[in-house]
């Protein structure tokens, strides 16, 4: 049995107390409202109601890659791709010479509750791609879809096979029932939960407030790993008490997490009912305004970025896209992180931007 130092617990306790004091001092000086995220300069080029399209200011003489449009889903916001200068997918891409655009869905209210997938995946993306073509002079653009934004991209590429030059999907669920192939028990609870909800309960849940409220989705994400959430505000914070940079990163993540827009009701019913519950995208029965989305019609090159430890979109759900592409060249990148880590972790910064740049170089 190893010899135990009787004073070790006391030293540990004193160290913990010191860390608490340091944190208390740091937070008394910090103001979450003053924490800045998404600081890379960009210019608004078009606007449709609450939706805006912006172009990032190039940092190289003449961007030679792209145009590439970043499309986030309606849960969370696209600012996660530009959290801080040294952990910014956006910065890495424009430094590599990508002509980069981003769409912001704004803050949907109850007045937007009738907006469905047709409004986002068809109408809004068509308008955005037209505006990009006008500004850039390029006939076609590539799309970088994040999570649900990737599903918008898949729908668009399937409905208009000639329109995109390439489609990159980051942590995008495609087969919503493939979570059963993931052996990790903490992965895919969202899939289990939504699959078990009767259709009328999904409709009732959404109709109750008109939209799927951001607060509700935030609460659901927190309950996926409740002890982890608690540790985030205790042990993890004590751990980084002496690391000013890590504390700033923590505050930036908090700022991003706090900004959870409501998800328009009609689109939420399709997301939870048609896709999570009935898995219509891979069954070939998902339709936008009556037109069936056939993934086999996608003709542009497809890149999939997967988070190996993603508990929100289990890797088999994202990887499944390959099986449904008939005419599209396919490439896959796996990152040793979770869902959000794909964009913000230090490891991902070394993997994702170079992979996207290399893929874009092969996209016409």
């Amino acid at each position: 049995m190893p010899e135990q130092d009787p004073r070790a617990p006391l030293r540990d306790w004193v160290d913990l107390t010191r860390r608490m004091a340091v944190l208390s001092g740091q937070f008394s000086q910090s103001d979450l409202r003053a924490v800045a995220i998404a600081t890379t300069p960009k210019t608004k080029i078009a606007e449709w109601g609450k939706i805006t399209l912006s172009r990032y200011c190039p940092v190289v003489e003449s961007p030679s890659l792209g145009p590439l449009l970043i499309v986030h889903g309606l849960i969370g916001r696209q600012t996660v791709t530009d959290l801080q200068p040294d952990r910014s997918l956006v910065r890495r891409l424009i430094e590599a010479g990508v002509d980069l655009y981003v769409i912001d869905w704004g803050n949907p209210s109850r007045a937007d509750r009738c907006r469905d997938f047709t409004d986002y995946a068809d109408i809004a993306l068509s308008d955005a791609l037209d505006a990009i073509a006008e500004v850039s002079g390029a006939r076609r653009a590539a799309l970088f879809g994040i999570c649900q934004g990737g599903v918008f991209g898949l729908c668009h590429a399937a409905l208009y096979p000639e329109r995109l030059s390439g489609l990159a999907l980051a942590v995008t669920p495609v087969d919503f029932h493939a979570d059963t192939q993931d052996p990790e028990p903490t992965h895919g609870f969202l899939n289990v939960w939504a699959r078990g909800l009767p259709a009328e309960l999904i409709d009732g849940l959404v109709d109750d407030v008109g939209n799927l409220s951001g607060r509700l989705t935030g609460a659901v994400f927190e309950t996926l790993t409740p002890a982890r959430t608690f540790a985030k505000y205790t042990a993890d914070l004590f751990e980084i008490a002496d690391d000013r940079e890590a504390l700033q990163m923590f505050l930036r993540m908090e700022k991003w997490l706090a900004d959870r827009p409501d998800h328009p009701g009609a689109a939420a019913k399709q997301w939870l009912g048609d896709l999570y519950r009935e898995n219509r995208l891979v069954r070939g029965t998902f339709a936008l305004d009556g037109e069936r989305v056939d993934l086999g019609r996608i003709a542009c090159p497809v890149l999939t970025v997967i988070g190996r430890d993603d508990h929100i979109v289990p890797p088999p759900c994202a990887r499944a896209v390959k099986a449904y592409l008939r005419n599209a060249p396919y490439r896959e990148v796996e990152v040793p992180t979770g869902h959000i880590g794909v964009f913000v972790s230090r490891k991902a910064q070394q993997i994702v931007p170079p992979a996207v740049v290399s893929w874009l170089q092969g996209v016409a």
């Binding site: 306790w13 004091a21 009732g204 042990a235």
Partner: protein, 237 residues
């Protein structure tokens, strides 16, 4: 200490003194820990005895007497109490009675849900204690750092809770909770709509209709604009 109260430095000193006192108690702290574990064991036995193992079906569980299941045998009585469902007779009174039943169902559903969640946390705590005991046996003992203890708790609790969340019982309880809450809210909403109509105020349903119309019109206008843009301009040569 200043006239305005304790400063950060005072609090830090007090905290350090308290910590030292706790650790100098040594063996006594260990005994307290053992007593708390014994208390937990006794509590668990009581819960199993009175509340049932894990399905919340024991006779002492409030969910059993408050739920609609318990009212099954009283369906005739409830119908008699509500009276005949005539169009223009005692409608408000019947609605109020149904509201009460829905409120009871919501309370019962919440109770059942809380029971399941509480049981999952207790199982996590039990497994955590076992994990600590295993460390003691392996010689890592009470000298484990707070980081190690916290990591052990996080790992065990999240695994245990994930398992509980996937169980049929949990999913059914959660659905029942959502369903009962929606039923109650819809009942209250309908009542408020009636009041608003009576007072000539715009209702939620009217606003929702309006939004739906605007949405449909927007789509039509966009479609017309695009079709028009595709047609050749007769003014141009």
């Amino acid at each position: 200490m200043t006239a305005a109260g304790p400063t950060d430095r005072d609090l830090l000193r007090l905290w350090l003194e308290a910590s030292e006192a706790m650790f100098s108690a040594g063996g006594k702290a260990g005994e307290a820990w053992e007593r708390s574990a014994a208390l937990f064991e006794m509590w668990s036995k009581m819960a199993r005895l009175f509340g049932g193992e894990d399905d919340g079906s024991g006779p002492f569980n409030p969910a059993q007497w408050l739920g609609p299941g318990a009212l099954d045998g009283m369906a005739d009585f409830t119908r008699w109490l509500e009276g005949p469902d005539f169009a223009d007779l005692l409608r408000c009174e019947r609605d109020a009675l149904r509201e009460s039943a829905e409120w009871l169902e919501w309370m019962a559903a919440a109770e059942r849900f809380r029971t399941l969640v509480g049981q999952a946390w207790m199982r996590a705590f039990r497994t955590f204690l076992d994990g600590l005991a295993a460390r003691e046996t392996a010689g890592e003992g009470t000298n484990a750092s707070w980081q190690a203890v916290q990591a052990l708790w996080t790992e065990i609790a999240d695994r245990e809770l994930a398992q509980a969340q996937r169980s049929e019982a949990f999913l059914a309880a959660q659905q029942r909770l959502i369903r009962s809450q929606l039923a109650l809210k819809n009942r209250l909403r309908a009542r408020l709509e009636r009041v608003a109509e009576f007072l000539g105020l715009p209702t939620r349903a009217e606003l929702d209709d309006l939004h739906q119309t605007v949405h449909a019109l927007r789509r039509e206008i966009r479609q017309m604009k695009r079709e028009r843009a595709r047609q050749p301009d007769p003014e141009r040569p």
